[in-house]
């Protein structure tokens, strides 16, 4: 009875809707055909944007599913009425679907590894980064094996041991030996990973400084939504800062009473010499940001009120990397990885890794943070002989010495 009602009401309604839908699409098609003579293409953009289009499409799908559902029901009822066994063996269907999912899924994983896996970051461009990559590859191999094996077991068992009225499950509540084995094996594998990870971690963060190869200090300060880079100048030391000294002319709050600060230089991009250790000093003015330089496997949050350090050694120049990646536009970047406000998604700076000589030329061209306004503000004597764009580092050194002497005389 209800079936008949359904047929009279819903199917007719469904048919009506479907016919209307087809009628409409054919109208569009005709329009398109008609329009083809005059204009090459009808703009469907507006239609794809209208919500009603998608709502109707979804309702049509729902209707389709409802019709299939009813058809299955009718089939099952008719089998029942004829006294035949239940029409559809859903257990078998799901078991097969799991088996299919396993095969298609494993292929999907393979596809992802090869296609998307080929779109990833190039090999690490820093010394410690190579260790991280090695660690990563080892973990990837182990986890992939476990992933594939456990999934084969999971979906394989689901397929093999599907329900059958003739069979009874095997009563097997526990087996302490097996359980011990699969406690100990993961524990051993993880011990290896932990040890390797721990040693790598230590080698990254606990470095003994080589007095002959002192790292280049670079201070990076984050704020919403930009980075400021400070090079140490001739003395090789980034000077003191105090946030209370922040003004419009001294946005970083550099304390120029500190002699080390006076020769500190500003830079628009981070240029570093290849093969020389760099010690990043990371600070923040306002909220927490994260200094993220993925090509070098470097990341550390910048936290207001804290100075944190990350030491690394770049191993490949930008030019080498451009060749390696076959991309002439390749650039090293660092950017923000910690949510920091509306501009979080666009907070980047370019990093250039260059030869020692190129670096020397470049650094000599950079301006100091200390300018005439700041001199007045800090009651420092006037500027020494201008050292504008002198590419000779010796001249610059002498300038630095002069500044120091002046400060001493004060």
């Amino acid at each position: 009875m209800s079936l008949r009602k359904f047929i009279t009401n819903k199917t007719t309604a469904a048919l009506a809707v479907l016919i209307t839908a087809f009628a409409n699409t054919s109208v569009f098609a005709q329009d398109a055909a008609a329009g083809a003579a005059a204009a090459p293409k009808v703009d469907m953009g507006e239609i794809y944007k209208s919500v009603i289009f998608y709502v109707l499409a979804f309702l049509a799908v729902c209707l389709f599913i409802a019709i299939i559902g009813k058809a299955i029901r009718v089939y099952e009822l008719s089998r029942e009425a004829q006294g035949k066994p239940v029409g559809i063996n859903w257990n078998r269907i799901h078991a097969s679907l799991f088996a299919l999912f396993l095969v298609v899924g494993l292929y999907g994983v393979y596809w992802e590894y090869t296609v998307h896996g080929a779109m990833l970051l190039p090999d690490a461009a820093s010394e410690h980064g190579k260790k991280i990559d090695k660690m990563f590859n080892l973990t990837l191999i182990i986890t992939t094996i476990v992933f594939v094996v456990t999934h084969i077991l999971l979906f394989g068992f689901s397929y093999i041991y599907k329900y059958s009225a003739k069979r009874k499950a095997y009563y097997y509540p526990h087996n302490n030996t097996i359980e011990k084995i699969w406690t100990i094996i993961p524990a051993l594998v993880l011990t290896v990973l932990v040890l390797m990870g721990f040693l790598t971690w230590r080698s990254i963060f606990f470095k003994t400084e080589d007095p002959k190869n002192k790292p280049l200090q670079i201070e990076v300060t984050s704020e919403q939504f930009k980075w400021s880079i400070r090079y140490p100048g001739a003395d090789g030391i980034v000077g003191a800062k105090n946030y209370k000294l922040t003004t419009a002319t001294n946005p970083l709050g550099i304390d120029f009473k500190d002699l080390n600060s006076r020769d500190d230089e500003m830079a628009d991009e981070m240029v570093i010499p290849v093969g020389k250790p760099v010690k990043l000093i990371l600070t923040s003015k306002d909220v927490i940001h994260s200094f993220y330089m993925p090509h070098f496997r470097v990341q550390l949050n910048t936290v207001p009120g804290m100075r944190v350090f990350f030491e690394f050694t770049p191993t490949k120049t930008t030019a080498e990397m451009q060749q390696e990646t076959n991309d002439p536009n390749f650039k090293y970047l660092f950017y923000c990885a910690k949510i920091c406000g509306s501009g979080h998604y666009n907070m980047q700076k370019v990093v250039r890794v260059v030869s020692e000589a190129e670096y020397k030329t470049w650094i000599a061209e950079q301006k100091t943070y200390l300018n005439d306004d700041l001199r007045k503000q800090f009651n420092l004597p006037g500027a020494p002989a201008p050292v504008k764009s002198v590419a000779d580092s010796a001249a610059k050194d002498s300038a630095a010495v002069k500044t120091n002497q002046m400060a001493l005389n004060k």
């Binding site: 999934h151 990870g197 550390l300």
Partner: protein
């Protein structure tokens, strides 16, 4: 809000067996019956889940088509999507509220709240919770928390938008972003209400399990669901207060000028007076809750799937004791791993090394659980009910998400993966997929117990397959974005040359997410339709052993009409050799199953063993049992 609308139609029945007159209000709104409170939790949880899913679709649209306009967005969102494009600040609000709702309101309250409330009294054999009044308060605090959280969408400056972890100073300094104004205050108020709710619930669960078990139900006869809820409640009781402490300090910082989390801050050129605090302190307090919280989310799901897998494989869960011990192991370890969220936050690197060790140790009990699930399926007789499908899906997601956790738990690898899409993919596999699947498995399995009706199985099948496939399509590719160094919470990928190659992947992921969202319509329709029009449930629809299926289908206050049944055996006697049926409920004494008793069953009770031996001598045929 919904509970009123949903239930007022069928309050005409039930009047016959209420021992005191129940009004609409006392029965459906301020109910103290654990079964009703469970339904309230579930339906509120489902509504919040739908809202949070909707939010996720909104920001997925922005990610997939960052330079297209969608006029309908302006219709719904007004000034937050002027010209049909979501604004960056609102984008961040969307991800923040999506995360908060999903983690706290759906996967904590919606999952634990629903199933602990429903199952603890029914499975341990109690008439109700230890304190029904506290239980009612627990729901209403949760409801208030939801209302307060949602109200932040209706204020001028918009909801909190500093990410669900609300790291200060971003969340504390109102000038840092619009969402850190009133929206953040509402977030904090909501969170305090939520924690109060969760504590009241947790204390109730623990005391009920410890004190109100029926005769014969010793701890080692409890189903794994109860063990999971028990340990989850303990985790919550010990960790949530720490969050409140952190939240109170944050309220002080925001509203009363203290400096617990603030120091040395300059917004533009405006120097803030705060001195001496540390933003890292918040991270410690937050993650001291936050990490146990993810186990609060996953453990009930694991408990539910243990039960569902055992029932539908028609096999005892493999290694019951190992399952319990690994849950205990996870519980204990989860308190000493929080630092793995902070490897690169400037925490002392020495601590990072220690936290890495503890973190990777926690993978061992998780691995044991996985292998035990697989062993349970082995040589089972698997019935693919919708609940079973979701439980198998859970195991798959738990494996996938667990394995990616090994990368992130390794401090060295975390340097480059921290705060990238790899993290997003990882926790969406374990929380967003595995825990949600556990919850759905629970809903399909215990729907007959909750509403006395059956859900439509075929719609359940459709729901499972669409969701299972779509969830993998959404979250698997995201790992690769993370491995390419794409950070999370980016409003658009347009500003970076290297991210542009991921735009097509983003479009694909968004379509998969829309498919997953639409698949939930099958569930929602099935759920609400079956409440009213579903087939009436038989007494024990899944032929399960646990105690709740001995309670009458028609709900009554106090659960069992006569005496509470006594428990004689563990809950997993499925397909026991020698017994004619493939299940023996916990209430069946060994004297009625002489043909299937094993020496182990008597736990060293010599008299019982003697009786069994005598019986076996008298019935030699029984030796040939199958």
């Amino acid at each position: 809000m919904s509970t009123i609308a949903l239930h007022d139609e069928h309050n005409h029945d039930h009047a016959d067996h209420g021992h005191h007159k129940e009004t609409l209000i006392s029965k459906y709104i301020f109910s103290m019956d654990h079964k009703m409170i469970a339904k309230q939790f579930l339906i509120t949880g489902i509504i919040m889940a739908v809202i949070a899913m909707g939010l996720s679709i909104l920001f997925r649209i922005q990610l997939a088509w960052p330079d297209k306009n969608f006029p309908f967005l302006e219709t719904f969102l007004g000034k937050w999507a002027e010209g049909g494009r979501i604004k960056p600040d609102f984008y961040l609000a969307l991800v923040t509220i999506h995360g908060t709702i999903m983690v706290f309101f759906v996967l904590t309250a919606g999952l634990s709240g629903t199933f602990s409330n429903l199952l603890i009294p029914l499975q341990v054999g109690a008439r109700d919770m230890a304190s029904p009044f506290l239980n009612m308060l627990s729901y209403w605090f949760f409801f208030l928390a939801c209302v307060v959280m949602m109200s932040s969408f209706f204020i001028q400056t918009g909801p909190a938008s500093g990410g669900w972890t609300v790291y200060p100073p971003l969340s504390v300094v109102a000038k840092a972003m619009p969402g850190s104004g009133l929206g953040m205050t509402l977030w904090l108020v909501s969170m305090v209400l939520f924690v109060a709710s969760s504590l009241m619930g947790g204390i109730n669960y623990v005391s009920t399990i410890l004190n109100m078990r029926t005769k014969g139900m010793d701890l080692w006869k409890m189903p794994l669901t109860i063990w999971a809820f028990f340990l989850t409640a303990i985790l919550g009781i010990l960790s949530f207060p720490v969050l409140v402490a952190g939240v109170v300090l944050m309220v002080f910082d925001r509203s009363f000028g203290t400096s617990f989390y603030l120091s040395d801050i300059v917004i533009g050129t405006d120097i803030l007076p705060n001195e001496g605090g540390s933003p890292i302190l918040w991270q410690h307090l937050f993650w001291f809750l936050g990490h146990p919280e993810v186990y609060i989310v996953i453990m009930p799901a694991l408990g539910i799937s243990s039960e569902v897998i055992s029932v539908n494989s028609r096999k005892p869960i493999f290694g019951y004791h190992a399952m319990v011990y690994s849950l205990i192991g996870i519980t204990v370890l989860s308190f000493i791993v929080w630092g793995h969220h902070m490897f690169v936050t400037g925490m002392n690197p020495l601590l990072g090394g220690v936290f890495m060790i503890t973190t990777l140790i926690i993978a061992v009990p998780s691995a044991v659980k996985t292998f035990n699930y697989l062993a349970t399926l082995w040589r089972g007789n698997i019935r693919f009910t919708p609940a079973m499908l979701f439980a198998i899906g859970l195991v798959s997601f738990f494996i996938s998400g667990g394995l990616t956790g090994i990368f992130l738990g390794n401090a060295s690898l975390d340097i480059n993966l921290h705060d990238t899409y790899f993290v997003v993919a990882h926790f969406h596999l374990v929380m967003g997929s595995a825990a949600i699947f556990g919850m759905l498995a629970g809903v399909y399995h215990w729907f007959p117990k909750m509403f006395g009706k059956m859900m439509n199985a075929k719609l359940g099948y459709l729901h499972f397959w669409l969701t299972f496939i779509a969830a993998y399509l959404v979250f698997f590719p995201l790992h690769f974005l993370g491995l390419d160094g794409v950070p999370r919470r980016y409003y658009a990928f347009t500003e970076f040359e290297f991210m542009k190659k991921w735009l097509t992947v983003n479009v694909f992921v968004t379509w998969a997410a829309i498919m997953a969202a639409l698949a939930q319509v099958a569930f929602l329709f099935n759920f609400f339709y079956s409440i009213f029009k579903g087939k009436v449930s038989p007494q024990n629809p899944w032929e399960a052993n646990t105690l709740e299926w001995t309670a009458p289908v028609e709900h009554l206050h106090g659960n069992w009409p006569g005496e509470i049944p006594t428990v004689y055996r563990w809950p997993y006697d499925y397909s026991k050799p020698g017994h004619d049926a493939d299940f023996i409920p916990q209430t069946v004494p060994f004297s009625q199953t002489m043909s299937s008793n094993l020496p182990h069953d008597f736990e060293g009770n010599e008299e019982a063993e003697k009786i069994q031996q005598e019986w076996e001598l008298a019935n030699p045929v029984a030796e040939n049992k199958g």
